[in-house]
Assembly symmetry: C2
Homo-oligomer: 388 residues x 2
């Protein structure tokens, strides 16, 4: 990657901070506390796989005006100092007595008046990445300052990707597209699914992914049972439909799409389902526009499937994408998030072929004023076949 510790020039992060601060002013927040890997990366460029260790909390404090303050474990000091952040306060973590609580309280107490409000993402699709007991202590020590939900402040900014971000997502989508085009090199009848998963991940890496945070898939006669299972040792068999799905990562940005393959001649039902999924996705690619709501995308996809005689699967039929494998909004009947230009989204219709047998299909797009622009290379219209 061009600059592992920064990813973008400082002006990109300053623009993000300014946008967050505008939202904070609008909602009367005196500071914003961020704790998740994606939120910290978003405002700093601090990129590390070290989040895999649950041992230590990491804090970014965004004041109502001025630059952010990093309150982080000393082990991250070297890497954070290579980002655009200059105010870096560290403690020796993990500390069973005081794991950053005092340092965080001191920092917030200085930046936020006693009557002030501190925003924290605490809504749908967020987690507080620190021990709950420590948060309750922080909340208590900072009283009468109050913590309030800042989910919308963060989401309305993060969901609109800059062209620089779109370029990164396009790059990892291209790497995954190239890999999907070469699946025939390692997947065919007789190869165990777990072997296919290993080779798929290796090829993603060799094609340019920095790491592969997510691989899923399935294989079964005429369709698969679910889309979140790890691979088993069963060899692929003629008549199976194989699906591979990946969230590979480059420069901290994810792709998230899948592809289907028939092992040997494609069974009729699967071929018809694939054609319906392809056509419903075409509908969405033609019709989706800024100003629609997330639930409109769900409607377009389900109607598109029904019109082609397919039975829409349950669950959401697409979602946001970027700094994590999935982001809000969700294409469900209940999600009223407004779709806006600059959103990066997945279109992910699923069809039920028989009870317990499904087929899913996924593309990644950026929504423009004129409609969707594909970031993934479009799946073939006809279900491709691999040698049995």
């Amino acid at each position: 990657m061009p600059d592992a510790s920064l990813i973008f020039p400082a002006r990109e992060y300053r623009r993000r901070i300014a946008a967050l601060q505008a939202g904070m002013t609008e909602t009367g927040l005196d500071a914003l506390l961020l704790t998740s890997p994606a939120d910290v990366f978003y405002v700093t460029g601090f990129l590390t796989r070290f989040w895999e260790s649950p041992a230590r909390p990491w804090f970014m404090v965004i004041p109502a005006s001025g630059d952010p303050v990093a309150v982080i474990p000393a082990i991250g000091s070297d890497l954070m100092s290579r980002t655009w952040i200059t105010d870096i306060r560290t403690w020796d973590a993990p500390d069973p007595v005081d794991d950053g609580v005092s340092l965080l309280c001191e920092t917030l107490a200085t930046l936020v008046p006693e009557t002030g409000r501190i925003g924290l993402p605490m809504g749908l699709e967020t987690h507080l990445r620190m021990p709950l007991a420590d948060f309750l202590r922080v909340s208590d020590q900072l009283s009468p300052r109050r913590f309030t939900d800042a989910t919308a402040v963060v989401q309305r900014v993060r969901e609109i990707k800059s062209e620089a971000e779109i370029d990164r997502i396009r790059a990892i989508c291209a790497i995954a597209s190239d890999t999907f085009d070469r699946v025939a090199e390692f997947a065919r009848g007789g190869v165990p699914l777990e072997r296919v998963f290993r080779d798929f991940q290796s090829m993603l890496l060799q094609t340019g992914a920095d790491w592969v945070s997510y691989v899923a898939g399935g294989a079964g006669p005429g369709g698969y049972g679910d889309v979140i299972s790890p691979a088993d040792a069963r060899p692929l068999t003629s008549g199976d439909i194989l699906m591979l799905d990946t969230g590979a990562v480059k420069d901290g940005y994810f792709c998230d799409f899948d592809r289907n393959y028939a092992i040997g001649p494609a069974p009729d039902a699967a071929r018809r389902a694939h054609a319906a999924l392809f056509a419903a996705t075409e509908d969405a690619l033609e019709q989706l526009r800024p100003g629609m709501l997330a639930r409109d995308a769900h409607r377009i996809l389900t109607e598109g499937l029904r019109r082609r005689g397919a039975q829409p699967g349950g669950g959401r039929l697409g979602h946001g994408l970027g700094l994590t494998l999935t982001e809000w909004p969700s294409f469900t009947p209940k999600d009223t998030t407004e779709l806006r230009a600059g959103m990066v989204l997945t279109l992910e219709p699923g069809a039920e072929i028989a009870p317990g047998r499904i087929l899913v299909h996924e593309e990644n797009i950026v929504l423009r004023d004129s409609g969707p622009e594909l970031l993934s290379r479009r799946a073939p219209a006809t279900l491709p076949e691999l040698p049995a």
Copy 2:
């Protein structure tokens, strides 16, 4: 993997539940609520990379007696039904109005009397993996039932690994050991570090890892600056010390250890530091016993380094290992966790060679009554060299 959705026979999970329930009885808990990937996997065998999506919360409820109840998104129903869990309650997630809150409240209200207490891990090294606002709603709706910290209940059980678990960790350690032995096949002078990281991950997969959740490392003249950065494009150069560290995964269990290599002839200071790290680790391998505290391991390692004229690095010098890349306890001067037979641990001394130049060294062990048994293949006593 032998059985992707189960990993162990049901009796292993029943034993775990019984141990948790004994701890619950001791501390007066009427139920235990688990939300993290590792905790859910621990009691069910439900293994998926789908946790990578932050969109949905997942809940396991352990009653004071009887079998656990899964309260999970419908998308996980198929996979969960292949585990030993039979009481599976699902909702269509993500739901912006009620994302499992009502279903979780109904479940807990039935299992816990109004005066009862619900345990939840909320201490050091834990996170609540659900939106904080939803937790506050659950807490409010279930009142006067109270949530209390159950970190110790979970940790005292999880930290003692069964022989079946130790076998899994030994297996992934062997895969990483085999890979470290072959680093010379892809790392030498002139190769960019990011290329080395890609090939290292590919080889881990090809050697048998299911996936590679963590790779870190560093390379620099005579030592490296930190141990959590992603790779950059700088080619390895004569005089560099290269360190590679991995948390690869098989059947849901992690290894976590590193290896060092000199590019060309090893600089004297680095060779001396490596020898001191090796010797200090030997001290710990000889002296560590059940009944000692976590801070004793820290003392043995720092004294071992000082005795060989090396300057111990800051931070912790080892930690637990198993279902996550790192688990409690931490080998710091402050951690008074008792070391017990059956704990799987890392020994991870670090030495400062010059300001901003460090060398770290890591092994994985299981603590037996007689002392440590190595799970990683012991690092070479002398810093190995790769062609410049």
